[in-house]
């Protein structure tokens, strides 16, 4: 090949950073880079040095070994550099790995390296591979520069101009275009890009992109079908699991969503954000065993990750507390012990974070109470109380958790008062309102919660099949577990009123009255409030 710029050395102008824990490898990499014409090469042996170096220096090409021994690995470095924006999009990150298969490194939800280099690496290989990446980088530089500036419309028009001129980088250009349109919210154009690619060839990245757009367009059924189809052909396509779980969740199928994420976590257990998503989902499905395993894994994976967060420790502590509550056998005691250890570790690791000690003690109190250590629990509660005098500035999470503890400690009036205040203060935040409602409805352990929910479902089924007496019985049984549950009380009222239509027994109305009396003080923001008012009015009518 004759090149008009044959004497131009593409390696020379760039700056390099080599990260490897073996000195021999660092030196031989430098040797190889130099013989390719590189000049400005920095060598470091671990993650901290690498991040430190990138904080103060501009680096064009990072060559990072995946396995760096103890501590952070190459993926952690990549995430941290990109997350903190220490590495521009126009810079190259090459992951050097001993694995021919990418399983070890694959499966991160965000941040993929620009290329993998598989050991053994020789000079000729490095020169070809890196040379090709560098010339790609140079050609695409104007586009990446605009993306770094977040000037997406300009980046799009540059991509469109490059498309006919750079057939070699067609895949990159189409992927980037789809992504940019998506980021801009121009879903119609994004969809067209993926459809254009798919018209030529069924490529999995384009199918994934298409499903992502469909989800954003709320075409949930089509997206879910597409993703299932994709996974049938590519069971190792991790991003597809994440999207499928999201789709199922939005379709209102949280159990199926959880199963999908469990399968993904089995394939690739090292992605922190996926484990976290699984933990949250399992928790809201009241599957506390899965939730605690996934939170435990999230905490472990956080050790070296930029995504580490005290919330993960707290959630693990809370889940273990729920599991151990009232379980005085060996297993319960072990979980309670683990919960306390996790909380202690959190206090140490996130020392200095606002309210960290307080949040820890709120959970500790429940752990002790759940193990029958009432005196210890009371002591912890007394130490919390003075710090929580001023509830007006309490953040939502802390407030909810405190209310939960108050319920466990038998301080119902105080708990309800706190939640009432909160529902006013957070009246424009539907997520928090829903959490407040759930806690007001079901201030009990998760095993009882499951029991009450199952009864509620059974009751509704009986009601629908016209078996009023059975429905009333089942709802009453459920209310023995959660007496203040708003929709359950209202369900029972409705059943009883209907029964009264067939059989005007005034005792039925008295029972209605006592159900509604339990809901006095139901906050106006509660989603059942209108139904409550309506049924109250109807009852009045019947009693006149």
């Amino acid at each position: 090949m004759t090149d008009s710029k044959a004497d131009f050395n593409p390696f020379g102008k760039l700056t390099y950073l080599v990260i490897d824990d073996f000195e021999n490898f660092r030196l031989s990499m430098r040797q190889m880079l130099r013989s390719c014409g590189a000049d400005n090469i920095e060598l470091v042996s671990n993650a901290n040095q690498a991040i430190q170096y990138c904080t103060y220096n501009h680096v064009d090409v990072v060559l990072c070994d995946f396995n760096l021994g103890e501590g952070k690995n190459g993926q952690h470095i990549l995430e941290e550099l990109r997350h903190k924006k220490l590495l521009k999009r126009s810079s190259l990150f090459l992951m050097v790995t001993a694995e021919t298969s990418k399983e070890m490194v694959m499966g991160a939800r965000e941040y993929q390296p620009d290329a993998y280099l598989t050991k053994p690496i020789n000079r000729a290989m490095l020169e070809k591979r890196l040379g090709a990446l560098i010339s790609q980088r140079n050609v695409l530089m104007p586009i990446n520069r605009e993306i770094d500036r977040e000037n997406y419309p300009e980046a799009i028009s540059l991509c469109l101009q490059a498309l006919p001129r750079q057939p070699r980088y067609k895949t990159w250009l189409m992927k980037t275009l789809g992504d940019l349109y998506f980021q801009l919210g121009d879903l119609a154009h994004a969809l067209k890009i993926y459809d254009d690619v798919l018209a030529q060839r069924e490529l999995s990245w384009a199918k994934l992109g298409r499903c992502k757009v469909l989800l954003a367009k709320r075409s949930l059924d089509e997206a879910v079908d597409g993703l299932r189809d994709l996974l049938a052909k590519h069971p190792d396509y991790m991003e597809a699991y994440d999207l499928l779980a999201e789709g199922l969740e939005r379709q209102g199928r949280p159990t199926q969503a959880q199963q999908v994420l469990e399968k993904a976590a089995e394939h690739s257990p090292n992605a922190l954000l996926r484990q976290k998503h699984l933990a949250e989902l399992a928790g809201s499905n009241q599957d506390m065993d899965t939730a605690s395993d996934a939170w435990r894994r999230t905490v472990e994976l956080g050790t070296h990750s930029i995504h580490d967060n005290s919330e993960h420790y707290l959630a693990l502590g809370q889940t273990l507390s729920d599991l151990s509550e009232g379980d005085l056998e060996e297993e319960g005691a072990a979980r309670a012990k683990e919960a306390l250890a996790v909380l202690k570790k959190m206090e140490k690791r996130f020392d200095g974070e606002e309210d960290i000690g307080l949040r820890s003690r709120i959970v500790q109190c429940r752990v002790y109470a759940g193990q029958g250590q009432d005196r210890q629990a009371a002591k912890v509660l007394e130490s919390i109380r003075p710090e929580l005098q001023d509830t007006a500035t309490l953040n939502a999470q802390t407030g909810l958790d405190y209310a939960k503890t108050l319920f466990r400690m038998g301080q119902e009036t105080e708990a309800k008062q706190l939640l009432g205040e909160m529902s006013e203060r957070f009246s424009d935040d539907p997520d928090i309102l829903q959490k407040i409602e759930s806690l007001l409805d079901e201030p009990v352990g998760f095993r009882q919660k499951i029991k009450a929910r199952t009864l509620n479902r059974d009751g509704i089924r009986s009601f629908e099949s016209g078996n009023l007496q059975e429905a009333a019985e089942i709802f009453s049984k459920a209310l023995e577990i959660v007496p203040d549950h708003a929709s359950l009380n209202l369900n029972l009222v409705q059943v009883l009123m209907k029964e009264y239509g067939n059989n005007p027994d005034s005792d039925l109305l008295r029972r209605c009255q006592s159900c509604l009396a339990r809901l006095t003080g139901l906050p106006e923001q509660h989603r059942q409030h209108r139904r409550y008012i309506a049924l109250q009015r109807k009852l009045k009518g019947l009693m006149e």
Partner: protein
């Protein structure tokens, strides 16, 4: 054995994985040694043998893992669009030190076309094929690529004696056709054939062809991808 509920193929696979990584380290050291002692080692046939055999083992292990995953239904082709000449020259670079050491002349004749394939899987196939060619060629190896009948055809040709009659064939191999008694198990060909089959488009799927002739009149390996 069954009492302990040991999944033997799983044990084997992890052992193979380990061995493969060790060999990777070994190969790395060999490359370094060669470049550090270019004068004295460049022509050393014993050193060349050392590197060649290590490469061969490494390839075998990579294939073994691939076939294991195939058996577990855990291997799928991640097909992307690639610029074929770039892929071939980048790929060839890996073999450059050994080829130079052995004094084998190698060239690429590829049309400027894009192809659809899984880079990693095809790398595995080509590594093995080139290594075979190194073994049987006299002095030359040629990589070719072009479009024929709507397929992307990548070929590896050498100037050796060619494939024996019994090995020349077209299409796909199945696992039963492997002969574990004869010295050569054709494991490499089975792997290549499986990889070809994983590449499908509509109702067309890939295949391999072995014949003699080509530019040098020696063995010709071809992988046809839709």
């Amino acid at each position: 054995m069954n009492d302990q509920n040991i999944d033997f193929s799983m044990v084997l696979a992890s052992a193979v994985h380990d061995m493969k990584n060790s060999l990777g380290m070994l190969l790395n050291s060999l490359d370094e040694l060669r470049s550090e002692h270019e004068e004295s080692l460049g022509e050393s046939s014993r050193f060349n043998t050392l590197q060649y055999e290590a490469e061969r083992m490494h390839n075998d292990l990579v294939q073994l893992l691939g076939i294991y995953r195939l058996g577990e239904n855990n291997l799928s082709a991640h097909i992307e669009e690639h610029f074929v000449p770039d892929f071939l020259t980048e790929h060839l670079a890996r073999h450059t030190p050994l080829l130079q050491g052995l004094g084998i002349e190698v060239s690429v004749e590829a049309e400027d076309i894009n192809g659809f394939f899984d880079e990693d899987l095809l790398t595995g196939v080509l590594n093995n094929t080139i290594n075979n060619a190194i073994r049987y060629t006299r002095s030359k190896i040629l990589l070719t690529a072009g479009e024929r009948d709507g397929y992307l055809v990548i070929g590896v040709e050498d100037d050796g004696k060619g494939y024996p009659e019994s090995m020349q064939h077209t299409g796909t191999l199945n696992f039963k056709s492997l002969d574990f008694k004869s010295g050569s198990t054709s494991l490499g060909l089975f792997f290549a054939s499986s990889v070809a089959k994983l590449h499908s488009e509509g109702d067309r799927s890939g295949s391999i062809k072995l014949h003699n002739g080509g530019s040098f009149g020696g063995g010709v390996f071809e992988i046809w991808l839709p």
